[in-house]
């Protein structure tokens, strides 16, 4: 242990710190514990833009909308635009986060792929049935971001799920109203470009989004978001669809 002994410091303290770090790493690796957020000595509580442990990263085009990324342990509501929902998750999913989509049988998976989500880490439960709360609870336990679509829930269930997400550092995203959501995003309309009267094709659009909610992340905001963002362009390039219609 002489290798970790720092001159001028008691060796015993270092050994304890090393042991704690090893234990934490082992727990993290085996999945018995999720890395607690915010309360670690080695994580600097920096400005809100810290996309490290406390939040899942989002694409830079959404910075204005979600300045602090998708904060772990919070509940968000995204109404009116599935593309916006998928675009918010794209960066985190590509970076290794797991995403579960519960109760959204109509979600466009090809669009998700083109926006940059990793389908390998996307779990779909199209119809949770009467077991919705239990399914969501299981997902919140193990998955980084859970999208809640049309699932039969009571307000009590919703509050419990929010508490569970907070405890497990997961992100809950709901397409419907959710009491106590910290961020409420509402798509209010979009302007498409690229399509004319019988020519061209849908290319890009600007989505008008209103943000409200609680706390700093939910400060009222009203603005425009370009969609599909950078991720989509990347996905399209990967697919070899560089803006032309194939064939």
């Amino acid at each position: 242990m002489s290798a970790v002994a720092v001159p001028g410091r008691p060796v015993a303290l270092d050994r304890a710190a090393v042991a704690r770090a090893v234990l934490a790493r082992a727990e993290e690796r085996t999945g018995t514990a999720r890395r607690p957020w915010g309360d670690r000595g080695d994580v600097v509580r920096g400005p809100v833009r810290d996309h490290g442990v406390r939040s899942l990263p989002v694409d830079p085009t959404l910075d204005a909308l979600l300045p602090s990324g998708l904060e772990r342990g919070t509940t968000l509501t995204v109404a009116g635009s599935t593309s916006l929902l998928l675009a918010m998750l794209a960066r985190a999913s590509a970076d290794g986060a797991w995403v579960a989509v519960v109760g959204l049988p109509a979600v466009g998976l090809l669009a998700a792929h083109q926006l940059g989500l990793s389908l390998e880490r996307l779990v779909l439960v199209p119809d949770a049935g009467p077991d919705g709360p239990r399914v969501l609870a299981a997902m919140v336990d193990g998955v980084d971001a859970v999208v809640v679509g049309d699932v039969a829930l009571t307000d009590v269930d919703r509050r419990k799920l929010s508490a569970r997400a907070r405890e497990r550092s997961a992100v809950l995203l709901s397409t419907g109203p959710w009491p106590g959501a910290s961020v409420v995003l509402t798509a209010q309309g979009s302007r498409w470009s690229g399509v004319g009267r019988g020519e061209g094709r849908l290319r890009t659009r600007v989505l008008t989004v209103a943000r409200e909610g609680r706390g700093a992340a939910g400060r009222g905001w009203h603005g425009q978001v370009p969609l599909p963002g950078v991720g989509a362009a990347r996905g399209a390039r990967l697919l070899g669809l560089d803006g032309r219609r194939a064939g």
Binding site: T82, L110, V143, W192
Partner: protein
């Protein structure tokens, strides 16, 4: 030149190839064919590939039948000749008992080709006492399955093969001398995968006056490589006794399988639970005892009607590593799916109609020694992955395996076609290749909401009638308004792109033709509309 040879021999102890034994069953293709066709051994026989004789039995050879003869010529030499068809699969199949017999003497062998077995001789020779004893035991073991074999030993693979043909035990270090006097034509017996190239090479060497392997070995290897290429270099290595290819040992690592008969046949799920548990435990115990893990588990069941139900699950994604409880769940769910008609319908069209089950089996595939599993590119599954897998497993336990889906992108033209959905953890290959061009597929971006089933709408043109599209893709009028399914609300169309025709599978059972139209609406939304059989439908929303 002889000094060079002597020098090479003197330098050999360090660089001498490893001792190799070769076990050769003469005329194996004929023997295998005669065995399969039950031709009496006293009749002359030959194997014929449709053009020429590829192998002849000793009886036939005595009467003048040679390799390379045409059918007519062979029958002329030997009118009672039995001609048999060539079948490499049969040769390999029939050789398996011989290989197994050899394996009773030496644990690791390489089947170079049907009829020829290679094995490292040094260790085995020490174990059995001497190389001579090893050779005797090999011949005895093979004789017990009814084959006459010859064993040869030498330094290096090529020399060992030639020694086996000569029925010779070449002492260590004598290999070069043993090879020196042999004809270059014998190289053809050594090769396993380059018969045509070696035949050409031998022909060329003979015409150039290089007639023996000794002649070839005396040439500088660099010059041989420059003049004759890689096969020349290979021939030179064999000729100089430097053919030091390690034998590719086949390890007897069979798939681990457990199976049980169900008598009386099982019809109800409750009855299967115990069977599943017992089988899972048995498989697990077998694998633990053998110290192996597996990449996939195949579940097979046979019904009273004789149908075979097979489903393969990956153990890393579906089972999160193998444990008895997970395996039991997996088997139980699968049986549940097969026994419940409704779930079988959801499971896929390829499932035959289930009946009572009479047999159930588990087969571990991709068996590897524990600790030798292939990791991912960035290492083993991390904590987050394990946690997610556990969550998925729990949800599958709540809802059934078919309720949790994994998506993959596959080839196709329509939005729905391009996504391949399978129950989480199941191994089912995509139906269409993604790297094919798929001309005519809809351009990106893809719609973010794809309705599970199209919803009928009405697209009216500026003339107030339904928009029609003719065979030349001309529209009867510019689209003006979309009437929603309720029949009372409408939204004006501000722009559109298309129409794009997609005609698919018109040659098959499920023909599909449609015309697609992207439209932007007054309220800012964009939709994908399809015209099928004269009716417009809302396919997807770009929301």
């Amino acid at each position: 030149m002889s000094t060079t040879l002597a020098d090479a021999a003197a330098a050999a102890p360090e660089t001498r190839p490893r001792r190799t034994a070769a076990l050769w069953v003469p005329d194996w293709p004929v023997l295998a064919a005669m065995g399969a066709a039950q031709v009496p051994a006293h009749l002359p026989a030959a194997v014929h590939d449709g053009r020429r004789v590829v192998a002849a039995s000793a009886q036939a050879r005595r009467q003048g039948v040679r390799r390379g003869m045409r059918r007519r010529a062979a029958q002329q030499c030997c009118p009672e000749l039995v001609l048999l068809n060539a079948d490499p699969g049969r040769d390999a199949r029939e050789f398996e008992p011989v290989a197994l017999a050899a394996e009773t003497v030496v644990a690791g062998i390489e089947v170079a080709r049907p009829g020829l077995v290679l094995l490292p001789a040094a260790g085995a020779g020490r174990y059995h006492g001497s190389e001579l004893v090893l050779a005797e035991r090999l011949v005895d073991a093979v004789a017990e399955v009814g084959c006459q074999a010859q064993v040869g030993m030498a330094d290096g693979v090529g020399a060992a093969v030639l020694a086996a043909r000569a029925h010779a035990m070449v002492p260590p270090g004598e290999t070069a001398r043993f090879l020196a006097g042999r004809s270059v034509a014998e190289l053809q017996h050594v090769t396993t995968d380059g018969a045509a190239e070696v035949a050409d090479l031998v022909d060329l060497l003979v015409r150039l006056g290089v007639r023996t392997l000794g002649d070839l070995a005396r040439l500088p290897r660099g010059d041989v490589l420059a003049r004759f290429g890689v096969w020349g270099e290979w021939a030179h290595r064999v000729a100089s006794g430097q053919d030091d290819r390690p034998t590719a040992l086949r390890r007897p690592e069979p798939d681990v399988a457990v199976a049980t008969e169900l008598d009386p046949p099982v019809e109800r799920l409750e009855q299967t639970a115990f069977v599943a548990r017992r089988l899972a435990e048995e498989l697990h115990a077998t694998m633990v005892a053998a110290g192996v893990g597996c990449g996939r588990v195949r579940i097979t069941a046979a019904t009273t009607e004789g149908a075979e139900l097979v489903r393969t699950w990956r153990t890393d994604t579906a089972l999160g590593g193998l444990s008895v409880a997970r395996l039991t769940d997996r088997v139980r769910w699968q049986l549940d799916g097969w026994l419940t008609a409704q779930q079988a319908r959801r499971g896929g069209a390829d499932d035959p109609r289930p009946g009572p089950l009479v047999r159930l089996g588990l087969l571990a595939e991709e068996v590897v020694a524990v600790g030798a599993e292939q990791g991912r590119l960035w290492g083993q599954a991390a904590g987050a992955d394990l946690r997610a897998q556990r969550a998925v497993h729990r949800v599958q336990g709540l809802l059934g395996p078919e309720a949790v889906l994994a998506a993959r992108v596959q080839g196709g033209r329509e939005v729905r076609d391009q996504v391949h959905l399978v129950p989480w953890g199941e191994e089912r290959p995509p139906e269409r290749r993604v790297d094919a061009p798929w001309p005519g597929r809809l351009p990106p971006p893809a719609p973010a909401t794809v309705l599970p089933a199209p919803v009928a709408v009405q697209l009216c043109g500026t003339d107030g009638r339904r928009v029609e599209v003719d065979a030349r893709l001309g529209m009867s009028a510019d689209p003006a308004v979309v009437w929603w399914p309720d029949g009372t609300s409408q939204t004006a169309v501000t722009g559109w792109a298309g129409p794009w025709p997609v005609v698919q599978r018109w040659w098959g059972d499920t023909p599909h033709r449609a015309v697609y139209l992207q439209a932007t609406l007054e309220d800012g939304r964009a939709v994908l509309l399809a015209l099928t059989d004269g009716a417009w439908a809302l396919e997807a929303l770009y929301d």
